[in-house]
Subunit: 205 residues, 2 copies
């Protein structure tokens, strides 16, 4: 969990953010109070307000961190020097692994979107559009190069992103598959979805 929030400083602000993720995940945003969050972080409500003015600001910060990390993963895959098949497989592997490993954060980020204030909501929705666009760009490259066969690029990109995100809902850390195994399976399924005819070597992990 720590690497996820490494950029959040000072340490007290980071501790409050991870406490908020746990509280929102267990009870939902609306059933959680700032007092609950402060208490989980071993702090007073007054200490919380030094770092975050409102409960909504905590959710906004969590959502921003989560969405920027996810977008970074996809953009890195998009911009690699490799064929579209390998880039798409790499994007899916990493995106799935992120959602499996950080499933608690991912659930909060996905399910509590409606609780964000209007401006914050618009900002996060813009990040989501960029996420879809990064996947769409790889698919468009594959179609342009003649190695993918995709009648509906926009719809297929949405389906690929959706398939990966939903891993956060069902993934069970004690279950029969590791994040790496799910990532590998999903990469192969997604290459089939885009009708990839190229030989795609196994990624570098």
């Amino acid at each position: 969990m720590d690497a996820e929030w490494a950029d959040v400083t000072p340490e007290a602000a980071r501790r409050l953010l991870t406490a908020a993720v746990q509280a929102f995940a267990e009870r939902g945003y609306h059933a959680t109070t700032t007092r609950d969050i402060a208490s989980r972080a071993g702090m007073s409500p007054a200490a919380l307000y030094i770092h975050y003015r409102t409960k909504e600001e905590l959710l906004y910060r969590i959502s921003g961190v989560g969405h920027r990390l996810a977008l970074g993963i996809l953009r890195t895959a998009r911009d690699r020097a490799a064929g579209p098949g390998e880039r798409l497989a790499d994007a899916v592997r990493r995106f799935v692994r992120w959602h499996a490993e950080h499933h608690t954060t991912a659930r909060v980020v996905q399910y509590e979107l409606g609780a964000l204030g209007e401006e914050h909501h618009a900002e996060i929705v813009a990040l989501r559009r960029e996420t879809d666009a990064a996947v769409r760009a790889i698919i468009e490259d594959g179609v342009a190069e003649g190695v993918f066969d995709v009648p509906d690029v926009r719809g297929t990109a949405l389906a690929v992103v959706s398939l990966c995100i939903d891993v956060a809902r069902w993934f069970d850390a004690g279950g029969r598959r590791t994040p790496e195994e799910v990532g590998e399976l999903y990469a192969s399924l997604v290459l089939r979805m885009v009708g990839c005819s190229a030989d795609v070597t196994t990624g570098t992990g």
Copy 2:
């Protein structure tokens, strides 16, 4: 919404159930009180307790109705007299349409699973296993008949179910695609995921 709850009687019990779905969807299970639900249904808290002993019982009933309808859709497709490709496409079309049309119910059912009591949770988890098994059975038939090429049947069945369920998260009734259009797109993507080589005619809708 009404057809979904047609089997719930008397009318007051049905009204409370639909009020509970709306309340849970807007504020989350833990932030909703039985008083909120009764008030939305235009009833007194005392009137609610005639029909449901606890808030958890309302969630359990909602979850049971939702899971049984979803399972019924998949079993009907599984048992049709048609080839595996046509049956799988039919299952996906109908399952997606259900999740798009009933996205509010589906979200409550999926995201609040952890709030069920132990026995109720076990009962719903058993229904979910049957749902996965219905899709797996169609894929196994396709592999046995040599029209599907699926190295990991269990994982692929889970991915297909997951892809369809996640429609409830992102589907927007005012968006650019109808439930039927998403169903059609997803049926074609899923046939690619199973490497279906058979000619699959468009379903009867």
